[in-house]
Protein backbone atom coordinates (compact mmCIF):
# COMPACT_ATOMS: atom_id res chain seq x y z
CA UNK A 1 0.00 0.00 0.00
CA UNK A 2 2.82 2.39 0.87
CA UNK A 3 4.16 2.11 -2.65
CA UNK A 4 0.97 3.66 -4.01
CA UNK A 5 1.97 7.06 -2.62
CA UNK A 6 4.52 7.99 -5.31
CA UNK A 7 1.97 6.94 -7.93
CA UNK A 8 -0.10 10.00 -7.08
CA UNK A 9 2.84 12.10 -8.30
CA UNK A 10 3.94 9.77 -11.10
CA UNK A 11 0.52 9.40 -12.77
CA UNK A 12 -0.04 13.11 -13.50
CA UNK A 13 3.59 13.35 -14.65
CA UNK A 14 3.20 10.46 -17.11
CA UNK A 15 -0.09 11.92 -18.30
CA UNK A 16 1.57 15.28 -18.86
CA UNK A 17 4.53 13.79 -20.73
CA UNK A 18 2.37 11.68 -23.03
CA UNK A 19 0.11 14.58 -23.87
CA UNK A 20 3.21 16.72 -24.45
CA UNK A 21 4.52 14.19 -26.94
CA UNK A 22 1.17 14.07 -28.72
CA UNK A 23 0.64 17.79 -28.73
CA UNK A 24 -0.51 17.98 -32.34
CA UNK A 25 -3.26 15.48 -31.72
CA UNK A 26 -5.95 17.12 -29.55
CA UNK A 27 -8.11 13.99 -29.67
CA UNK A 28 -5.36 11.89 -28.19
CA UNK A 29 -4.67 14.52 -25.51
CA UNK A 30 -8.28 14.35 -24.39
CA UNK A 31 -8.15 10.57 -24.17
CA UNK A 32 -4.84 10.56 -22.30
CA UNK A 33 -6.07 13.28 -19.93
CA UNK A 34 -9.22 11.32 -19.18
CA UNK A 35 -7.33 8.06 -18.63
CA UNK A 36 -4.73 9.78 -16.44
CA UNK A 37 -7.32 11.53 -14.30
CA UNK A 38 -9.27 8.31 -13.85
CA UNK A 39 -6.09 6.48 -12.85
CA UNK A 40 -5.30 9.26 -10.37
CA UNK A 41 -8.81 9.07 -8.98
CA UNK A 42 -8.66 5.32 -8.43
CA UNK A 43 -5.20 5.54 -6.86
CA UNK A 44 -6.32 8.22 -4.45
CA UNK A 45 -9.38 6.17 -3.51
CA UNK A 46 -7.06 3.23 -2.81
CA UNK A 47 -4.81 5.43 -0.68
CA UNK A 48 -7.70 6.79 1.35
CA UNK A 49 -8.94 3.23 1.90
CA UNK A 50 -5.42 2.20 2.92
CA UNK A 51 -5.15 5.07 5.40
CA UNK A 52 -8.50 4.22 6.94
CA UNK A 53 -7.57 0.56 7.28
CA UNK A 54 -3.91 0.74 8.27
CA UNK A 55 -3.44 4.22 9.73
CA UNK A 56 -0.91 6.76 8.46
CA UNK A 57 1.00 5.60 5.38
CA UNK A 58 4.50 6.79 4.63
CA UNK A 59 7.28 6.04 2.21
CA UNK A 60 10.93 7.11 2.33
CA UNK A 61 11.95 8.15 -1.17
CA UNK A 62 15.11 6.35 -2.24
CA UNK A 63 15.08 4.34 0.99
CA UNK A 64 16.99 7.10 2.84
CA UNK A 65 15.87 7.06 6.49
CA UNK A 66 13.57 9.71 7.88
CA UNK A 67 15.22 12.95 8.96
CA UNK A 68 17.61 12.78 5.97
CA UNK A 69 15.54 11.51 3.07
CA UNK A 70 12.35 12.94 1.66
CA UNK A 71 9.23 11.47 3.20
CA UNK A 72 5.86 11.11 1.55
CA UNK A 73 3.11 10.85 4.14
CA UNK A 74 -0.59 10.24 3.78
CA UNK A 75 -2.78 10.80 6.81
CA UNK A 76 -6.54 11.18 6.55
CA UNK A 77 -6.37 14.89 5.72
CA UNK A 78 -3.80 14.47 2.92
CA UNK A 79 -5.49 11.49 1.35
CA UNK A 80 -8.91 13.11 1.56
CA UNK A 81 -7.67 16.26 -0.14
CA UNK A 82 -5.85 14.24 -2.80
CA UNK A 83 -9.10 12.43 -3.52
CA UNK A 84 -11.10 15.66 -3.81
CA UNK A 85 -8.37 17.15 -5.99
CA UNK A 86 -8.48 14.11 -8.27
CA UNK A 87 -12.26 14.49 -8.64
CA UNK A 88 -11.91 18.19 -9.48
CA UNK A 89 -9.14 17.60 -12.00
CA UNK A 90 -11.12 14.83 -13.70
CA UNK A 91 -14.21 17.01 -14.04
CA UNK A 92 -12.30 20.11 -15.11
CA UNK A 93 -10.33 18.20 -17.72
CA UNK A 94 -13.64 16.97 -19.17
CA UNK A 95 -15.05 20.48 -19.14
CA UNK A 96 -11.91 21.68 -20.95
CA UNK A 97 -12.77 19.66 -24.04
CA UNK A 98 -15.07 22.36 -25.31
CA UNK A 99 -14.14 25.34 -23.16
CA UNK A 100 -10.49 25.71 -24.17
CA UNK A 101 -9.86 27.06 -27.65
CA UNK A 102 -7.68 25.07 -30.09
CA UNK A 103 -4.86 27.66 -29.92
CA UNK A 104 -4.40 27.14 -26.21
CA UNK A 105 -4.61 23.37 -26.62
CA UNK A 106 -1.89 23.52 -29.28
CA UNK A 107 0.20 25.61 -26.92
CA UNK A 108 0.11 22.83 -24.35
CA UNK A 109 -2.91 23.36 -22.13
CA UNK A 110 -3.36 19.70 -21.26
CA UNK A 111 0.26 18.95 -20.21
CA UNK A 112 0.23 22.10 -18.07
CA UNK A 113 -3.00 21.12 -16.34
CA UNK A 114 -1.51 17.77 -15.37
CA UNK A 115 1.78 19.29 -14.21
CA UNK A 116 -0.33 21.56 -12.02
CA UNK A 117 -2.09 18.47 -10.67
CA UNK A 118 1.26 16.89 -9.93
CA UNK A 119 2.27 19.96 -7.92
CA UNK A 120 -1.00 19.96 -5.98
CA UNK A 121 -0.87 16.24 -5.13
CA UNK A 122 2.82 16.50 -4.23
CA UNK A 123 2.10 19.36 -1.81
CA UNK A 124 -0.61 17.33 -0.10
CA UNK A 125 1.57 14.28 0.36
CA UNK A 126 5.03 15.56 1.20
CA UNK A 127 6.41 15.39 4.72
CA UNK A 128 9.41 17.61 4.06
CA UNK A 129 9.39 21.39 4.17
CA UNK A 130 11.78 21.93 1.29
CA UNK A 131 9.99 19.37 -0.82
CA UNK A 132 6.80 21.30 -0.12
CA UNK A 133 8.53 24.40 -1.49
CA UNK A 134 9.47 22.50 -4.63
CA UNK A 135 5.88 21.37 -5.18
CA UNK A 136 4.70 24.93 -4.64
CA UNK A 137 7.08 26.04 -7.36
CA UNK A 138 5.92 23.30 -9.73
CA UNK A 139 2.39 24.48 -9.10
CA UNK A 140 3.24 28.16 -9.47
CA UNK A 141 5.23 27.85 -12.67
CA UNK A 142 2.49 25.91 -14.41
CA UNK A 143 -0.14 28.26 -13.04
CA UNK A 144 1.79 31.30 -14.32
CA UNK A 145 1.64 29.87 -17.81
CA UNK A 146 -1.98 28.75 -17.52
CA UNK A 147 -2.97 32.24 -16.38
CA UNK A 148 -0.98 34.13 -18.95
CA UNK A 149 -1.10 32.16 -22.15
CA UNK A 150 -3.39 33.35 -24.84
CA UNK A 151 -1.98 36.79 -24.17
CA UNK A 152 -5.19 38.79 -23.92
CA UNK A 153 -4.71 42.22 -22.43
CA UNK A 154 -6.71 41.65 -19.26
CA UNK A 155 -5.07 38.29 -18.82
CA UNK A 156 -1.56 39.72 -18.88
CA UNK A 157 -2.52 42.38 -16.38
CA UNK A 158 -3.94 39.76 -14.03
CA UNK A 159 -0.91 37.54 -14.47
CA UNK A 160 1.51 40.33 -13.61
CA UNK A 161 -0.18 40.89 -10.26
CA UNK A 162 -0.43 37.18 -9.59
CA UNK A 163 3.21 36.52 -10.43
CA UNK A 164 4.53 39.45 -8.40
CA UNK A 165 2.71 38.60 -5.20
CA UNK A 166 3.33 34.89 -5.48
CA UNK A 167 7.04 35.44 -6.00
CA UNK A 168 7.05 37.56 -2.86
CA UNK A 169 5.36 34.72 -1.04
CA UNK A 170 7.89 32.21 -2.35
CA UNK A 171 10.71 34.44 -1.14
CA UNK A 172 9.25 34.59 2.35
CA UNK A 173 8.72 30.85 2.33
CA UNK A 174 12.31 30.26 1.26
CA UNK A 175 13.62 32.67 3.89
CA UNK A 176 11.64 30.78 6.51
CA UNK A 177 13.10 27.51 5.30
CA UNK A 178 16.59 28.98 5.52
CA UNK A 179 16.15 30.06 9.14
CA UNK A 180 14.53 26.75 9.98
CA UNK A 181 17.37 24.74 8.54
CA UNK A 182 20.04 27.00 10.00
CA UNK A 183 18.58 26.59 13.46
CA UNK A 184 17.44 23.00 13.59
CA UNK A 185 19.50 21.34 10.88
CA UNK A 186 16.51 19.45 9.58
CA UNK A 187 13.58 20.06 7.28
CA UNK A 188 11.62 16.92 7.93
CA UNK A 189 8.27 18.04 9.30
CA UNK A 190 8.04 15.34 11.95
CA UNK A 191 11.59 15.98 13.11
CA UNK A 192 10.96 19.73 13.23
CA UNK A 193 7.81 19.16 15.25
CA UNK A 194 9.84 17.19 17.73
CA UNK A 195 12.62 19.77 18.00
CA UNK A 196 10.31 22.77 18.26
CA UNK A 197 8.65 21.23 21.31
CA UNK A 198 11.66 22.38 23.33
CA UNK A 199 11.01 25.52 25.43
CA UNK A 200 14.30 27.19 24.46
CA UNK A 201 13.06 28.17 21.04
CA UNK A 202 9.83 29.93 21.96
CA UNK A 203 10.69 33.32 20.44
CA UNK A 204 12.29 31.86 17.36
CA UNK A 205 9.22 29.71 16.86
CA UNK A 206 7.01 32.79 16.88
CA UNK A 207 9.20 34.59 14.34
CA UNK A 208 9.25 31.58 12.07
CA UNK A 209 5.53 31.04 12.46
CA UNK A 210 4.95 34.63 11.36
CA UNK A 211 7.12 34.15 8.27
CA UNK A 212 5.24 31.02 7.25
CA UNK A 213 1.89 32.58 8.09
CA UNK A 214 2.73 35.44 5.70
CA UNK A 215 4.01 33.15 2.97
CA UNK A 216 1.05 30.76 3.03
CA UNK A 217 -1.34 33.60 3.74
CA UNK A 218 -0.46 35.18 0.39
CA UNK A 219 -0.96 31.87 -1.41
CA UNK A 220 -4.26 31.24 0.32
CA UNK A 221 -5.47 34.85 -0.19
CA UNK A 222 -5.93 35.70 3.48
CA UNK A 223 -6.71 39.29 4.56
CA UNK A 224 -4.85 41.66 3.97
CA UNK A 225 -2.88 39.80 1.31
CA UNK A 226 -5.64 38.77 -1.08
CA UNK A 227 -5.53 41.57 -3.65
CA UNK A 228 -3.99 39.44 -6.34
CA UNK A 229 -6.90 37.01 -6.38
CA UNK A 230 -9.82 39.11 -7.58
CA UNK A 231 -7.40 40.90 -9.91
CA UNK A 232 -6.47 37.74 -11.75
CA UNK A 233 -9.01 34.94 -11.35
CA UNK A 234 -11.59 36.36 -13.74
CA UNK A 235 -9.17 36.72 -16.64
CA UNK A 236 -8.11 33.22 -17.84
CA UNK A 237 -10.34 30.68 -19.61
CA UNK A 238 -13.07 29.33 -17.34
CA UNK A 239 -11.70 25.81 -16.65
CA UNK A 240 -8.37 27.33 -15.61
CA UNK A 241 -9.98 29.64 -13.10
CA UNK A 242 -12.20 26.77 -11.91
CA UNK A 243 -9.23 24.59 -11.05
CA UNK A 244 -7.38 27.55 -9.50
CA UNK A 245 -10.36 28.51 -7.38
CA UNK A 246 -11.04 24.94 -6.37
CA UNK A 247 -7.53 23.84 -5.55
CA UNK A 248 -4.72 26.43 -5.56
CA UNK A 249 -5.83 28.59 -2.66
CA UNK A 250 -6.77 25.43 -0.77
CA UNK A 251 -3.20 24.20 -1.00
CA UNK A 252 -2.23 27.35 0.90
CA UNK A 253 -4.87 26.52 3.51
CA UNK A 254 -3.63 22.93 3.69
CA UNK A 255 -0.07 24.16 4.28
CA UNK A 256 -1.29 26.49 7.04
CA UNK A 257 -3.23 23.67 8.69
CA UNK A 258 -0.27 21.31 8.46
CA UNK A 259 2.23 23.82 9.83
CA UNK A 260 0.07 25.17 12.62
CA UNK A 261 -1.08 21.80 13.87
CA UNK A 262 2.15 19.85 13.51
CA UNK A 263 5.10 22.21 13.74
CA UNK A 264 3.93 25.39 15.46
CA UNK A 265 1.41 24.01 17.87
CA UNK A 266 3.24 24.20 21.19
CA UNK A 267 3.78 27.80 22.26
CA UNK A 268 1.92 29.27 19.41
CA UNK A 269 -1.20 30.29 21.31
CA UNK A 270 -0.55 33.84 20.15
CA UNK A 271 -0.39 32.69 16.54
CA UNK A 272 -3.75 30.96 16.74
CA UNK A 273 -5.18 34.16 18.15
CA UNK A 274 -3.77 36.09 15.19
CA UNK A 275 -5.17 33.52 12.79
CA UNK A 276 -8.61 33.98 14.33
CA UNK A 277 -8.51 37.73 13.84
CA UNK A 278 -7.29 37.30 10.26
CA UNK A 279 -10.04 34.77 9.63
CA UNK A 280 -12.73 37.16 10.82
CA UNK A 281 -11.37 40.01 8.69
CA UNK A 282 -11.00 37.78 5.63
CA UNK A 283 -14.59 36.59 5.93
CA UNK A 284 -16.12 40.02 6.32
CA UNK A 285 -13.89 42.07 4.02
CA UNK A 286 -14.00 39.40 1.31
CA UNK A 287 -17.76 39.30 1.15
CA UNK A 288 -18.08 43.10 1.39
CA UNK A 289 -15.86 43.22 -1.69
CA UNK A 290 -18.30 41.00 -3.55
CA UNK A 291 -21.29 43.28 -3.07
CA UNK A 292 -20.46 46.12 -5.51
CA UNK A 293 -19.08 43.83 -8.23
CA UNK A 294 -20.95 43.35 -11.50
CA UNK A 295 -18.87 40.68 -13.20
CA UNK A 296 -19.97 37.09 -12.55
CA UNK A 297 -16.51 35.69 -11.91
CA UNK A 298 -15.43 38.67 -9.80
CA UNK A 299 -18.39 38.16 -7.49
CA UNK A 300 -17.52 34.50 -7.11
CA UNK A 301 -13.83 35.42 -6.57
CA UNK A 302 -14.68 37.66 -3.62
CA UNK A 303 -16.92 34.94 -2.23
CA UNK A 304 -13.96 32.61 -2.52
CA UNK A 305 -11.86 34.95 -0.37
CA UNK A 306 -14.58 35.20 2.23
CA UNK A 307 -14.70 31.42 2.55
CA UNK A 308 -10.95 31.21 2.90
CA UNK A 309 -11.63 33.11 6.11
CA UNK A 310 -14.27 30.58 7.15
CA UNK A 311 -11.75 27.80 6.59
CA UNK A 312 -9.27 29.49 8.91
CA UNK A 313 -11.81 29.80 11.71
CA UNK A 314 -11.37 26.14 12.63
CA UNK A 315 -7.59 26.43 12.64
CA UNK A 316 -7.80 29.50 14.86
CA UNK A 317 -10.12 27.95 17.44
CA UNK A 318 -7.90 24.86 17.41
CA UNK A 319 -10.07 22.27 19.10
CA UNK A 320 -10.66 18.84 17.50
CA UNK A 321 -14.24 19.79 16.70
CA UNK A 322 -13.18 23.05 15.07
CA UNK A 323 -10.52 21.30 12.99
CA UNK A 324 -13.12 18.77 11.88
CA UNK A 325 -15.26 21.72 10.83
CA UNK A 326 -12.39 23.12 8.79
CA UNK A 327 -11.78 19.78 7.06
CA UNK A 328 -15.47 19.34 6.28
CA UNK A 329 -15.74 22.90 5.01
CA UNK A 330 -12.61 22.37 2.92
CA UNK A 331 -14.24 19.45 1.07
CA UNK A 332 -17.41 21.46 0.57
CA UNK A 333 -15.59 24.58 -0.53
CA UNK A 334 -13.40 22.86 -3.15
CA UNK A 335 -16.47 21.29 -4.75
CA UNK A 336 -18.74 24.35 -4.68
CA UNK A 337 -16.16 26.88 -5.83
CA UNK A 338 -15.15 24.72 -8.79
CA UNK A 339 -18.82 24.35 -9.60
CA UNK A 340 -19.57 28.09 -9.43
CA UNK A 341 -16.59 28.97 -11.61
CA UNK A 342 -17.61 26.37 -14.18
CA UNK A 343 -21.03 28.01 -14.22
CA UNK A 344 -19.41 31.12 -15.68
CA UNK A 345 -18.98 29.15 -18.86
CA UNK A 346 -22.67 28.36 -19.01
CA UNK A 347 -23.66 31.93 -18.29
CA UNK A 348 -21.29 33.24 -20.95
CA UNK A 349 -22.61 30.76 -23.50
CA UNK A 350 -26.24 31.49 -22.80
CA UNK A 351 -26.07 35.19 -22.15
CA UNK A 352 -23.13 36.22 -24.30
CA UNK A 353 -21.29 38.06 -21.50
CA UNK A 354 -20.54 37.94 -17.79
CA UNK A 355 -21.87 41.34 -16.70
CA UNK A 356 -24.79 40.54 -14.44
CA UNK A 357 -26.53 43.85 -15.15
CA UNK A 358 -26.89 42.94 -18.81
CA UNK A 359 -27.86 39.33 -18.24
CA UNK A 360 -31.26 38.00 -17.29
CA UNK A 361 -34.08 35.67 -18.12
CA UNK A 362 -32.00 32.53 -18.25
CA UNK A 363 -34.50 30.81 -15.98
CA UNK A 364 -37.10 30.99 -18.73
CA UNK A 365 -34.94 29.35 -21.36
CA UNK A 366 -32.95 26.93 -19.17
CA UNK A 367 -34.84 26.13 -15.96
CA UNK A 368 -32.71 23.06 -15.21
CA UNK A 369 -29.43 24.98 -15.25
CA UNK A 370 -31.08 27.64 -13.11
CA UNK A 371 -32.03 24.98 -10.59
CA UNK A 372 -28.48 23.58 -10.51
CA UNK A 373 -27.05 27.03 -9.95
CA UNK A 374 -29.58 27.75 -7.23
CA UNK A 375 -28.54 24.59 -5.37
CA UNK A 376 -24.83 25.49 -5.60
CA UNK A 377 -25.49 29.09 -4.59
CA UNK A 378 -27.65 28.16 -1.61
CA UNK A 379 -25.00 25.71 -0.49
CA UNK A 380 -22.41 28.50 -0.53
CA UNK A 381 -24.87 30.62 1.41
CA UNK A 382 -25.15 27.90 4.06
CA UNK A 383 -28.82 26.95 3.67
CA UNK A 384 -29.80 23.53 5.07
CA UNK A 385 -29.84 20.80 3.96
CA UNK A 386 -26.90 21.55 1.64
CA UNK A 387 -23.22 20.93 2.29
CA UNK A 388 -22.29 24.50 3.28
CA UNK A 389 -24.73 24.43 6.17
CA UNK A 390 -23.08 21.55 8.00
CA UNK A 391 -19.59 22.97 7.69
CA UNK A 392 -20.70 26.29 9.16
CA UNK A 393 -22.77 24.55 11.83
CA UNK A 394 -19.75 22.63 13.12
CA UNK A 395 -17.59 25.77 13.12
CA UNK A 396 -20.25 27.79 14.94
CA UNK A 397 -20.70 25.00 17.48
CA UNK A 398 -16.96 24.91 18.10
CA UNK A 399 -16.89 28.69 18.41
CA UNK A 400 -19.67 28.73 20.99
CA UNK A 401 -18.02 25.93 22.95
CA UNK A 402 -14.87 28.05 23.20
CA UNK A 403 -16.89 31.20 24.01
CA UNK A 404 -15.63 33.06 20.94
CA UNK A 405 -18.94 34.86 20.46
CA UNK A 406 -17.56 37.71 18.38
CA UNK A 407 -16.20 35.16 15.94
CA UNK A 408 -19.54 33.40 15.74
CA UNK A 409 -21.10 36.77 15.02
CA UNK A 410 -18.57 37.29 12.21
CA UNK A 411 -19.40 33.86 10.74
CA UNK A 412 -23.10 34.67 10.82
CA UNK A 413 -22.59 38.16 9.40
CA UNK A 414 -20.43 36.89 6.57
CA UNK A 415 -22.86 34.03 5.96
CA UNK A 416 -25.76 36.43 5.73
CA UNK A 417 -23.93 38.68 3.28
CA UNK A 418 -22.89 35.62 1.26
CA UNK A 419 -26.52 34.61 1.00
CA UNK A 420 -27.38 38.14 -0.10
CA UNK A 421 -24.60 38.13 -2.70
CA UNK A 422 -25.57 34.70 -4.02
CA UNK A 423 -29.27 35.47 -4.24
CA UNK A 424 -28.50 38.74 -6.03
CA UNK A 425 -26.43 36.76 -8.48
CA UNK A 426 -29.22 34.28 -9.04
CA UNK A 427 -31.98 36.81 -9.41
CA UNK A 428 -29.91 39.06 -11.70
CA UNK A 429 -28.69 36.32 -14.00
CA UNK A 430 -31.58 33.87 -14.03
CA UNK A 431 -34.71 35.46 -12.64
CA UNK A 432 -35.15 39.05 -13.84
CA UNK A 433 -36.13 39.79 -17.42
CA UNK A 434 -33.28 40.34 -19.79
CA UNK A 435 -32.87 44.09 -20.13
CA UNK A 436 -33.20 45.74 -23.51
CA UNK A 437 -29.89 46.17 -25.26
CA UNK A 438 -28.27 49.32 -23.94
CA UNK A 439 -26.08 49.78 -26.93
CA UNK A 440 -23.06 47.90 -25.64
CA UNK A 441 -21.84 45.93 -28.64
CA UNK A 442 -20.04 43.42 -26.44
CA UNK A 443 -23.26 42.24 -24.85
CA UNK A 444 -25.57 42.69 -27.83
CA UNK A 445 -25.02 39.17 -29.00
CA UNK A 446 -27.64 36.94 -27.53
CA UNK A 447 -25.50 33.91 -26.74
CA UNK A 448 -25.80 30.44 -28.11
CA UNK A 449 -28.47 28.18 -26.73
CA UNK A 450 -26.44 25.01 -27.18
CA UNK A 451 -24.75 23.61 -24.07
CA UNK A 452 -22.21 20.83 -24.64
CA UNK A 453 -22.72 17.71 -22.59
CA UNK A 454 -19.04 17.73 -21.56
CA UNK A 455 -19.71 20.99 -19.71
CA UNK A 456 -23.09 20.17 -18.19
CA UNK A 457 -22.08 16.72 -16.90
CA UNK A 458 -19.19 17.90 -14.66
CA UNK A 459 -21.39 20.63 -13.22
CA UNK A 460 -24.17 18.11 -12.67
CA UNK A 461 -21.79 15.78 -10.84
CA UNK A 462 -20.48 18.61 -8.66
CA UNK A 463 -23.99 19.70 -7.71
CA UNK A 464 -24.86 16.07 -7.02
CA UNK A 465 -21.89 15.90 -4.63
CA UNK A 466 -23.04 19.09 -2.91
CA UNK A 467 -26.51 17.64 -2.40
CA UNK A 468 -25.17 14.28 -1.21
CA UNK A 469 -22.85 15.98 1.29
CA UNK A 470 -25.86 17.96 2.49
CA UNK A 471 -28.43 15.21 2.82
CA UNK A 472 -26.09 12.50 4.02
CA UNK A 473 -23.29 14.31 5.86
CA UNK A 474 -22.40 11.66 8.42
CA UNK A 475 -19.75 9.70 6.42
CA UNK A 476 -18.09 12.96 5.40
CA UNK A 477 -18.24 14.27 8.93
CA UNK A 478 -16.82 11.00 10.19
CA UNK A 479 -13.85 11.37 7.82
CA UNK A 480 -13.37 15.00 8.86
CA UNK A 481 -13.44 13.96 12.51
CA UNK A 482 -10.81 11.27 11.90
CA UNK A 483 -8.61 13.79 10.11
CA UNK A 484 -9.05 16.26 12.96
CA UNK A 485 -8.17 13.64 15.54
CA UNK A 486 -4.90 12.93 13.76
CA UNK A 487 -4.18 16.64 13.41
CA UNK A 488 -4.74 17.40 17.07
CA UNK A 489 -2.54 14.54 18.19
CA UNK A 490 0.63 14.91 16.10
CA UNK A 491 2.43 12.34 18.23
CA UNK A 492 1.10 9.57 15.99
CA UNK A 493 2.39 11.30 12.87
CA UNK A 494 5.80 11.92 14.41
CA UNK A 495 6.19 8.35 15.63
CA UNK A 496 5.17 6.93 12.26
CA UNK A 497 7.83 8.96 10.45
CA UNK A 498 10.69 8.75 12.92
CA UNK A 499 10.15 5.13 13.91
CA UNK A 500 12.16 4.24 16.99
CA UNK A 501 13.16 7.79 17.89
CA UNK A 502 11.43 9.33 20.96
Amino acid sequence: MNNALPLVIAIPMITAVISLLGRHRPGMQKGVGLAGSLALLSTSIAILAGVLLEGILSVQIGNWPAPYGITLVADVLSSLLTLVAAVVVLLVSIASWTEIDPDRVAFGYHPLLHILTMGICGSFLTGDVFNLYVWFEVMLISSFVLLGFGGERAQLEGTTKYVTLNLLSSTLFLAGIGVLYGTFGTLNMADLALQLRGPTHAHLAETLATLFLLAFGIKAAVFPLFFWLPASYHTPPVPVSAVFAGLLTKVGIYALVRFFTLIFSGDAAVMHRIILVLAAFTMVVGILGALPQRDFRRIVSFNLISHIGTLLVGLGIFTPLALAGTVFYLMHDIVTKTCLFLFTSIVQRLGGCADIGKLGGLYRSHPFMALLFLLAALSVGGIPPLSGFWGKLILVQAGIAEKEYWLVAAVFGAGFLTLYSMSTLWSEVFWKDRPEAIGDPECECVGRTFLPLSLVTPIGILVFLIVVMGIWPSPFFHLAELAARQLSDPQMYIQKILQGKP
Binding site: L5, L21, G62, N63
Partner: protein, 149 residues
Protein backbone atom coordinates in the same frame (compact mmCIF):
# COMPACT_ATOMS: atom_id res chain seq x y z
CA UNK B 1 17.84 37.06 -34.23
CA UNK B 2 20.70 35.87 -32.21
CA UNK B 3 22.91 35.48 -35.28
CA UNK B 4 22.45 39.06 -36.30
CA UNK B 5 23.06 40.28 -32.79
CA UNK B 6 26.45 38.62 -32.87
CA UNK B 7 27.18 39.95 -36.33
CA UNK B 8 27.60 36.46 -37.70
CA UNK B 9 25.64 34.46 -40.19
CA UNK B 10 22.03 34.10 -41.20
CA UNK B 11 20.04 34.34 -44.40
CA UNK B 12 18.70 37.80 -43.63
CA UNK B 13 21.97 39.60 -43.19
CA UNK B 14 24.30 37.61 -45.45
CA UNK B 15 27.13 37.58 -43.01
CA UNK B 16 28.63 34.18 -42.84
CA UNK B 17 31.81 33.78 -40.85
CA UNK B 18 33.82 31.03 -42.41
CA UNK B 19 36.18 30.91 -39.45
CA UNK B 20 33.35 30.26 -37.02
CA UNK B 21 31.67 27.77 -39.31
CA UNK B 22 34.85 25.77 -39.79
CA UNK B 23 35.69 25.87 -36.10
CA UNK B 24 32.18 24.78 -35.21
CA UNK B 25 32.43 21.74 -37.43
CA UNK B 26 35.38 20.61 -35.32
CA UNK B 27 34.09 21.82 -31.99
CA UNK B 28 30.63 20.30 -32.16
CA UNK B 29 31.67 16.63 -31.90
CA UNK B 30 34.25 17.50 -29.24
CA UNK B 31 31.71 19.35 -27.14
CA UNK B 32 29.18 16.56 -27.48
CA UNK B 33 31.83 14.06 -26.44
CA UNK B 34 32.68 16.26 -23.46
CA UNK B 35 29.03 16.42 -22.49
CA UNK B 36 28.77 12.63 -22.50
CA UNK B 37 32.00 12.42 -20.50
CA UNK B 38 30.54 14.79 -17.90
CA UNK B 39 27.34 12.77 -17.81
CA UNK B 40 29.14 9.48 -17.22
CA UNK B 41 31.58 10.63 -14.55
CA UNK B 42 28.84 12.50 -12.72
CA UNK B 43 27.88 9.98 -10.10
CA UNK B 44 30.87 10.31 -7.80
CA UNK B 45 32.75 13.23 -9.28
CA UNK B 46 31.74 16.72 -10.44
CA UNK B 47 29.53 16.43 -13.49
CA UNK B 48 26.23 14.76 -14.12
CA UNK B 49 23.16 15.02 -16.28
CA UNK B 50 22.53 18.70 -15.72
CA UNK B 51 26.00 19.97 -16.60
CA UNK B 52 26.32 17.47 -19.42
CA UNK B 53 23.01 18.58 -20.84
CA UNK B 54 24.03 22.24 -20.66
CA UNK B 55 27.27 21.54 -22.52
CA UNK B 56 25.42 19.59 -25.21
CA UNK B 57 22.85 22.37 -25.56
CA UNK B 58 25.60 24.96 -25.84
CA UNK B 59 27.23 22.88 -28.58
CA UNK B 60 24.00 22.98 -30.58
CA UNK B 61 23.53 26.67 -29.94
CA UNK B 62 27.06 27.31 -31.22
CA UNK B 63 26.05 25.48 -34.37
CA UNK B 64 22.96 27.63 -34.56
CA UNK B 65 25.02 30.82 -34.36
CA UNK B 66 27.47 29.59 -36.98
CA UNK B 67 24.84 28.33 -39.40
CA UNK B 68 21.11 28.82 -38.88
CA UNK B 69 18.09 27.52 -37.05
CA UNK B 70 16.86 25.33 -39.89
CA UNK B 71 20.17 23.51 -40.16
CA UNK B 72 20.35 23.04 -36.41
CA UNK B 73 16.92 21.47 -36.36
CA UNK B 74 17.98 19.14 -39.14
CA UNK B 75 21.15 18.22 -37.26
CA UNK B 76 19.23 17.59 -34.06
CA UNK B 77 16.69 15.36 -35.89
CA UNK B 78 14.40 15.05 -32.86
CA UNK B 79 12.09 17.85 -31.82
CA UNK B 80 13.25 19.47 -28.54
CA UNK B 81 9.82 18.86 -26.97
CA UNK B 82 10.14 15.16 -27.74
CA UNK B 83 13.53 15.19 -25.99
CA UNK B 84 11.94 16.72 -22.89
CA UNK B 85 9.20 14.13 -22.90
CA UNK B 86 11.57 11.24 -23.46
CA UNK B 87 13.90 12.50 -20.72
CA UNK B 88 11.08 12.75 -18.20
CA UNK B 89 9.94 9.24 -19.04
CA UNK B 90 13.47 7.85 -18.71
CA UNK B 91 13.93 9.53 -15.33
CA UNK B 92 10.56 8.31 -14.12
CA UNK B 93 11.27 4.85 -15.46
CA UNK B 94 14.54 4.72 -13.52
CA UNK B 95 12.65 5.65 -10.34
CA UNK B 96 10.06 2.98 -11.04
CA UNK B 97 12.50 0.07 -11.10
CA UNK B 98 12.83 -0.27 -7.33
CA UNK B 99 9.09 -0.61 -6.47
CA UNK B 100 9.02 -3.60 -8.84
CA UNK B 101 11.78 -5.18 -6.74
CA UNK B 102 9.87 -4.42 -3.57
CA UNK B 103 11.97 -1.46 -2.39
CA UNK B 104 10.71 2.12 -1.84
CA UNK B 105 10.30 4.42 -4.83
CA UNK B 106 13.56 5.79 -6.30
CA UNK B 107 15.86 3.48 -4.35
CA UNK B 108 19.09 3.01 -6.32
CA UNK B 109 19.32 -0.37 -8.00
CA UNK B 110 22.78 -1.32 -9.31
CA UNK B 111 23.96 -4.00 -11.70
CA UNK B 112 26.44 -6.49 -10.25
CA UNK B 113 28.91 -6.27 -13.12
CA UNK B 114 30.69 -3.09 -14.11
CA UNK B 115 30.68 -2.08 -17.75
CA UNK B 116 33.99 -1.12 -19.42
CA UNK B 117 33.79 2.64 -20.09
CA UNK B 118 30.79 3.64 -18.01
CA UNK B 119 31.71 1.84 -14.82
CA UNK B 120 28.98 0.86 -12.39
CA UNK B 121 25.56 1.02 -13.99
CA UNK B 122 22.38 1.48 -12.07
CA UNK B 123 19.15 3.42 -11.94
CA UNK B 124 20.79 6.66 -10.68
CA UNK B 125 22.77 6.73 -13.93
CA UNK B 126 19.57 6.20 -15.89
CA UNK B 127 18.04 9.08 -13.95
CA UNK B 128 21.00 11.25 -14.95
CA UNK B 129 20.46 10.31 -18.59
CA UNK B 130 16.87 11.47 -18.21
CA UNK B 131 18.02 14.78 -16.72
CA UNK B 132 20.51 15.17 -19.58
CA UNK B 133 17.77 14.76 -22.18
CA UNK B 134 15.41 17.16 -20.39
CA UNK B 135 18.09 19.85 -20.07
CA UNK B 136 19.11 19.57 -23.73
CA UNK B 137 15.45 19.64 -24.75
CA UNK B 138 14.44 22.62 -22.64
CA UNK B 139 17.50 24.72 -23.52
CA UNK B 140 17.15 24.10 -27.24
CA UNK B 141 13.40 24.63 -27.14
CA UNK B 142 13.96 28.09 -25.67
CA UNK B 143 16.96 29.00 -27.86
CA UNK B 144 15.44 27.82 -31.13
CA UNK B 145 12.13 29.53 -30.43
CA UNK B 146 13.82 32.81 -29.54
CA UNK B 147 16.09 32.62 -32.58
CA UNK B 148 13.16 32.00 -34.90
CA UNK B 149 11.19 35.02 -33.69
Amino acid sequence: MIGRAFGLSCEGCHMFSIVLATATRFLLPLLLLLSVYLLVRGHNEPGGGFVGGLVAASAFSLYMIAFDVEKTRRLLRAEPRALVGAGLLVALGSAGVSPVLGKPFMTGVWLERTLPVVGKVGTPFLFDVGVYLVVVGVCLMILLTVAEE
